[in-house]
Symmetry: C2
Subunit: 118 residues, 2 copies
DNA sequence: AGGCGGTTTCGATGGCGGTCGTACTATGAC
DNA sequence: GTCATAGTACGACCGCCATCGAAACCGCCT
């Protein structure tokens, strides 16, 4: 009956202009976090925390989401009990042009050893 | 006299196609190493190890040079007692397009808060 | 030859970050 | 209400890496 209205829980996000390069790089240097970011980039729509596949425990995954959010890489919001995630692609592009896209491209290229395109 | 021991000491460099993204990111995530890379990018010609300014000891600096070289970011060669350094810019561009340049641009932009030129 | 300046190696140290399990909270379904 | 589901907070552990000083090294110059 009652719809999953936008919930009360809110999440703090940094202003991207406040985030130093160091923090972004530290966020992207961890393989698990890069895995998360790649999955987000490849997804059609936002993903909830639970839908990610990573070789770590749930609590560790939560930690990684926090790091990514505090670095301004992702944006999070609650929908019911689910916490959704989305990349802050455009904002990052303004802050550090080409950085996130280059990392994503490199990660994608490495993931596919020898598959041209389709 | 003796043979072409022009520069007897040689240095091992990885093939860039062999270097994983992880290693490059790990190399670039350290602030001191990014400082080194920035100075190298801003220099007209190759620099010897001793000409770099960094808030660390010489032995630590040597360590950073090793990390950068093993990650394929820089190329090193001896000239007399001096060890020269140069960025492997083009090769890196082929391996991970846009990555190194984006990091360099971001670092440069952050270094100059709001100074067009002077 | 002998010294020197530049660079490296070695071993030790300290701190930080990724990892986990468990206990906990919050929301929605029944 | 109770239960189930989704995610979080906390504390502990552990390994790795940046750092250092001191000593060795290697060419070059006088």
């Amino acid at each position: 009956m009652a719809r999953p209205r936008t919930t009360a829980r809110t999440v703090e996000h940094p202003e991207l202009s406040e985030v130093p390069l160091q923090q972004v790089l530290e966020a992207l240097v961890d393989p698990v976090r890069r895995l998360v970011v790649s999955q987000l980039a490849g997804a059609a729509e936002d993903l909830s925390c639970g839908t990610f596949v990573a070789p770590v425990s749930l609590s560790t995954l939560t930690h990684h989401f926090n790091v990514l959010r505090e670095a301004g890489v992702i944006r999070q919001y609650y929908v019911g009990t689910a916490k959704m995630n989305t990349l802050r692609t455009e904002e990052m592009e303004l802050r550090f042009p080409g950085l996130l896209s280059a990392v994503l491209a490199a990660a994608a290229a490495e993931a596919e050893p020898s598959r041209p395109a389709r």
